[in-house]
Amino acid sequence: MSISTSIWVWIAALLTLMIYSFLYKENPFYRLAEHIFMGLSIGYSVVILWYNYILPRIYEPLFFPPHQWSLIFPILIGMMTFGIFSEKYNWLIKYPLAVYVAGYAGVQIPLQLQTMILRQAEASFLTPDKFTSLFSSFNALLIFAGLVTTLIYFYFSAKREHGLGGASQVGIIFIMIAFGAAFGYTVMARISLLIGRMQFLLQDWLGIM
């Protein structure tokens, strides 16, 4: 294999090097790559906006039968966001904002309760099958202790006195172990990302691998 003759591989390779150059220090090359990236990603978003939103969700349902005239409402609400382009009408944006934020809040409340809170609480129940052996009982109790002390750590309205202070101390220990484990767990995947980039540089671009 030998060095690549494709202009696109060269561009990609040079951009890769430009990005990594900032690990040494800030320099014009990084800034160049950064601005190219920014421009491309915005152009990309505009195309995606057209392709994924305007065409299938506004243009087609509105102008082709069966015409979904009800879509006029969200379009009007959406257009109110343009109020910010004028000093006089910029309060208009509060309406779409209110609808948008409140709607998601309404979706979030039951969903979070159901899938995160009750679900996690249920999984934490100690069922008899968790006590099948001495080791599994120990594990179950350990998980239980971790959960309880962590929850106590997140008590905001109680003074950390008596048992609570001790419990939240234990809680932070469990939290730190969890963070350490999560950190260590991702290291491998992160390094393999770099391997991928290096393979691209050495193999696809330079052809020395």
Partner: protein
């Protein structure tokens, strides 16, 4: 082919519970050994011919027939095909579908919401009556924010505030906007510059208004520069590249990473560290917390971020809601505690010997399990 009516292979059909209608659930029991395929047929009352509905997945033994009309009566028949025999099962009575007005499987969620709502309202009232009586523990990252802005000012450097890469609809982003208001007031007071790049245009407009107000409150409306609150890009790593560029060029003295972050968290935090800025992070993204903890000076851990946003205003109504969340935690702890007691009991005293405990325990579990589906 030989048709055999075997009693053991049976089928049941009932209105699918907790739905908007238009669906009947069919269950098959005692599927014969070696069955390769179970076909389902349906007879509409008044018709004479069975029509094919489809195949019932063998491993599930259940199928929702969602092609029915509400109120119409249907008769179901299933055939199980083994290499040499065809087994047939039929339901005895007609079944029909109907929509429900209340999803019973979500009762516990409703109870919890109602409880939460009431508790928060009660505490808000209590807090209004006696604002001094509410204790909220201090959050060191929050205390450090003023100091960080102060240090950036001393060094003559700007402050950078990154509100995460989620939309305005994320609770973490909303909390971040509240924290931004606090930081903005301090920045205006100290007459420093605040740089505020954005991932979502709506968050940007909200932040612009919030900062404008913060500067007005601090008595310096003219010092606010709208151009410093800008949109960068809605592409994850493009955003990271842009913010890194800003860090390297503007060299902020204090960096706030507050909001929901994904993998770019460590890219931002490490670049921020390399320029020697004080970094105060806060996120509700549990997966990114370890990286912030490793790379930043102060971190608001998960729920602390929400508490912080309530704490900032010191308004009794907001503080009351923190108290409400704490009470909800207590309820959960009690619930889990009950689970522990029963679980341990059952384990010690042998499951089969104590039907009473197990009955109660099973009920609770079932109740929760249904909700979590």
């Amino acid at each position: 082919m030989i048709f055999l009516l075997i009693l053991s292979f049976t089928i049941s059909a009932k209105d699918t519970p907790d739905d908007a209608g238009g669906s009947i659930t069919i269950n098959v029991y005692n599927i014969p050994e070696g069955t390769e395929q179970i076909e389902l047929y349906r007879l509409t009352k008044g018709d004479t011919l069975f029509e094919e509905v489809g195949l019932i997945p063998i491993f599930k033994g259940e199928l929702d027939d969602a092609t029915v009309t509400d109120g119409v009566l249907y008769l179901y028949k299933a055939t199980a095909l083994t290499p040499d025999t065809v087994y047939v099962a039929e339901i005895k009575e007609f079944a029909s579908s109907s929509p429900e007005w209340f999803n019973k499987s979500r009762t516990s969620v409703l109870l919890f919401i109602a409880l939460f709502w009431v508790v928060i309202l009660v505490y808000i009232q209590l807090a209004k009556k006696n604002p001094e009586g509410l204790f909220i523990r201090k959050l060191p990252p929050l205390e450090a924010m003023d100091e960080a802005v102060g240090r950036a000012t001393e060094m003559g450097k700007p402050v950078l505030y990154v509100p995460g890469i989620e939309y305005i609809t994320d609770a973490g982003t909303l909390a971040s906007i509240t924290i931004l208001a606090k930081v903005g007031r301090k920045v205006a007071e100290y007459e420093t510059r605040i740089i505020n790049p954005h991932f979502d245009p709506i968050v940007m407009t909200t932040a612009q208004e919030t900062l404008k107000n913060a500067f007005s409150e601090a008595g310096r409306p003219d010092a606010f520069n709208k151009d410093d609150v800008f949109y960068l890009t809605s592409e994850q790593f493009g955003f990271a590249a842009g913010v890194d560029g800003i860090m390297l060029r503007e060299r902020p003295g204090a960096i706030f990473l507050q909001g929901y972050f994904y993998a770019e968290s460590l890219i931002l935090a490490e670049t921020g560290y390399s320029i020697g800025a004080i970094q105060i992070a806060g996120t509700n993204a549990t997966t990114q917390l370890p990286f912030f903890v490793a790379a930043c000076d102060y971190v608001l851990l998960g729920e602390e971020m929400f508490a912080a946003s309530a704490y900032i205003s010191k308004e009794p109504r907001l503080l009351g809601s923190i108290k409400g969340s704490d009470l909800a935690k207590s309820v959960l702890l009690v619930l889990i505690g009950v689970g522990v007691i029963f679980g341990t009991f059952a384990a010690i005293k042998n499951v089969a010997g104590n039907p009473v405990y197990m009955e109660i325990f099973d009920r609770i579990l079932e109740f929760l399990a249904r909700t979590a589906e």
